[in-house]
């Protein structure tokens, strides 16, 4: 019980108020009370086991957005972090964890300052988080030079885990790991797969910003591997309000298979306008990177997304024991389904935990710390998880999913799997 309240006290000092619902509080406090009572009841007086004495406090700096357009991603990742810690008695490798959250406010310069604060002022043992790719690129050099172990739990820009000329705009580092994905991983394999299946002509629609253009380029390379071909494209600006002009363009060209890269509000706008302008009836078929049909989008558009085929390294419906447990535990703790961002963060915590266990909790030697992380493998909700030792990007399966509505529930059903996708690293 003490550990739990202490965590909240520390968090409150950091300026973040934790809003617990009554249910969450009851669940957490009764779990803590049970945990506190159980050993005393079973083995009174026998607290001599060596692992019982808690180790040194482990400081984890979490750089996440809690305001601005990505606020909900930050909230989801915070939920996943705290779920993992609750499941593990608020400790990693027997070290009590102190979480320090900083809000990047969706401004790159602010995020860079906060990362510097983690390094210089808080002297955290490990850094996690980062949603937008420009911020991940922006803190890369500072993290690398400080030998700060940083687990990127979202930003997907390819360069962060690659060899690039003159390290522009970023490049891999022994101290940087990624528990999410690279743009390449969610774009190239699906382009390759779809063209190999015989559909050669594609029209593209993508949000015109870094991640959109990078994904589009990788998808096109995948297509071309099997003689596929892009017949045209539309590129709305990121956060575009009115999708009618773009969907009208799509409807007035002959290529029926449309591959798209949108997420969040853009994805909702695109799917609704697609239906409103009657594209399904006109024979057009929607494909996309998985974010197009994640929970945040599906709960708003529902069956309007039916038939859309998307690819991602996870789906809430994925049928494996770890995922079922993760989804159930998450729902027990919070009144909502986990999303892919929660999985990325949860896996980041798990990878950190596994590495620390191997090190006996000792994080002082950063090169040893990095080596330990490289060797981590475990069963994740997404399937087998391992870091690629040369890039520090995950090696993961990519799932093909189709949106279907059954019994009032709109979900991604798994169609196929592309096994063990790695990033080429350059």
């Amino acid at each position: 019980m003490g550990g739990f309240t202490k965590m909240n006290g520390l968090a409150a000092k950091r300026g973040y108020t934790y809003r617990l619902t009554r249910r969450q509080f009851l669940v957490a406090s009764s779990a803590a009370a049970l945990a506190a009572c159980a050993p005393a009841a079973v083995t009174p007086g026998a607290s001599g086991s060596p692992s019982a004495a808690p180790g040194k406090e482990l400081k984890i700096g979490q750089l996440l957005p809690f305001t601005g357009v990505y606020a909900e991603l930050g909230n989801s990742m915070r939920r996943a972090t705290e779920l993992y810690l609750r499941q593990n008695d608020q400790k990693l490798a027997n070290r009590p964890v102190k979480l320090i959250y900083e809000d990047d406010t969706n401004v790159t310069a602010t995020g860079i300052q906060k990362a510097q604060k983690f390094i210089d002022q808080d002297k955290v043992d490990v850094m996690m988080g980062v949603v937008p790719t420009p911020l991940a690129y922006g803190i890369r050099n500072a993290v690398h030079e400080a030998k700060m172990i940083f687990i990127d739990t979202n930003a997907g820009g390819n360069a962060l885990t690659r060899d690039t000329p003159d390290c522009k705009p970023a490049c891999k580092s022994p101290y940087i790991f990624r528990s999410s994905f690279s743009s390449y991983q969610i774009s190239f394999p699906i382009g390759d797969y779809l063209s190999a299946k015989g559909t050669k002509d594609w029209f593209l629609a993508y949000a015109n910003y870094g991640f959109g253009t990078e994904s589009k380029a990788d998808f096109t390379t995948g297509l071309k591997k099997n003689g596929g071909n892009v017949t045209g494209e539309v590129a709305p600006p990121l956060g575009n309000a009115d999708f009618a002009p773009f969907v009208t363009q799509i409807k007035n060209q002959p290529t029926k298979n449309v591959y798209s890269f949108f997420s969040g509000a853009d994805a909702i706008g695109f799917i609704k306008t697609w239906n409103q302008l009657g594209l399904p009836a006109a024979g057009y078929k929607m494909y996309g990177a998985g974010f197009l049909t994640e929970q945040d989008v599906l709960k708003e558009v529902k069956d309007l997304a039916n038939g859309a085929i998307t690819s991602l390294f996870w789906a809430v419906e994925l049928d494996n024991a770890e995922n079922k447990k993760f989804v159930a535990d998450f729902q027990k703790q919070y009144p909502l389904l986990p999303d892919v961002f929660a999985v990325q963060q949860y896996d980041g915590m798990r990878a950190l935990d596994e590495a620390l266990k191997k090190l006996g909790g000792d994080t002082s030697d950063k090169d040893k710390f990095s080596k330990a992380l490289e060797d981590v493998t475990f069963k994740s909700p997404r399937g087998d998880f391992a870091f690629d030792k040369t890039t520090h990007n995950p090696i993961q399966d990519i799932y093909l999913r189709e949106v279907k509505t059954t019994g009032g529930q709109t979900v991604n059903t798994i169609l196929d799997k592309i096994a063990k996708v790695t990033d080429p690293g350059k």
Partner: protein, 290 residues
């Protein structure tokens, strides 16, 4: 561009323009009367959309939401003017700063009450279908937005020119001080004007929500577009708001598909050109600095 495509994109542009008119009319009215650029206008728009979301969730009726949101926003406007703005009357820059503060408070409250995830409002039943027009099918809702915009402009024009309230507003825009000297209660008139401006922003929020969705940051987009419209059309006049939105809507639509790389720059290029050659806006009145 084929004639069919041209026609469809023109409709897209016009329906966007109609929405911009509903949005910008309130901003223009408040400026004309009170000489205040109300930078909380985008936040009012956002709040209107979220009020509509709640009304639709509880009652299932889009039409009730379309009535409730302007009423709620009007009430808010009626409270904000006497409580806050009135105390800074005559200090225009301070009033503008105050409206920024109001918008920050509103947007943060929306985040606390409704959350920060992306939301959407379903199309109202009956308007969710399509009709056959030249070159294919076209969504009914977007035609409804055009019709609504035109009807609203007509209603405002009639009130402006044919009613006592309209006469007072026109007189207030001309010279509020003189109006006060003639025995008109300008305090009440200003509060009413501000309330109507807020109600129009709320109305635009409801109309836009099924098409554009609800998300953090929507207030800034809406404010930016409405400022563009009133700057291009001319601040403070009904004709200016009409001219600005009829120009900006289609230009934005065609600009986005024809010059994708400069999608965001096209409308600002228009603003720059208008400011260069006609600094008062297309139909703006020449204002004497007071």
């Amino acid at each position: 561009m084929s004639p069919e495509l041209l026609f469809q994109q023109a409709l897209n542009g016009l329906s966007f323009g109609a929405l911009l008119f509903i949005l910008a009319a309130g901003l223009s009215l408040v400026f004309g009367m009170m000489d205040v650029v109300n930078l909380a206008h985008g936040a009012f728009y956002m709040l209107g959309a979220y009020v509509a979301l709640t009304v639709v969730q509880f009652t299932g009726s889009f039409w009730l939401a379309l009535a409730a949101a302007p009423v709620a926003l009007g009430a808010l406007g009626l409270a904000i003017e006497p409580l806050l703005l009135r105390h800074l009357r005559g200090r225009h820059l301070d009033q503008v700063l105050l409206t920024i503060g109001v918008s920050l408070v509103i947007v943060d409250q929306i985040g606390l009450i409704w959350g920060r995830e992306v939301r959407s409002l379903p199309f109202p039943p009956g308007l969710d279908g399509t009709v056959v027009l030249i070159g294919g099918v076209y969504p009914v809702y977007r035609l409804f937005v055009i019709a609504f915009g035109v009807a609203l402009a007509a209603v405002i024009a009639v009130i402006y020119r044919r009613t006592k309230l309209g006469m007072l507003i026109r007189a207030g825009v001309e010279d509020a001080e003189m109006l006060g000297a003639l025995g008109v209660n300008t305090d009440r008139l200003f509060a009413l004007t501000f309330a109507v401006g807020a109600a129009l922003a709320g109305l635009a929020g409801v109309i836009a929500a099924p098409v554009f969705g609800l998300q953090p940051g929507m207030d800034v987009d809406a404010l930016l577009y409405s400022l563009v419209v009133v700057v291009v059309g001319g601040l403070g006049t009904l004709g200016g708001a009409v001219a600005g939105s009829v120009l900006v809507g289609p230009v934005d639509t065609f600009g986005k598909v024809l010059f994708q790389e400069f999608a965001l720059a096209v409308i600002f290029a228009i603003v720059a050109l208008v400011l260069l050659f006609k600094p008062t806006g297309l139909l703006g009145r020449i204002r004497i600095a007071r």
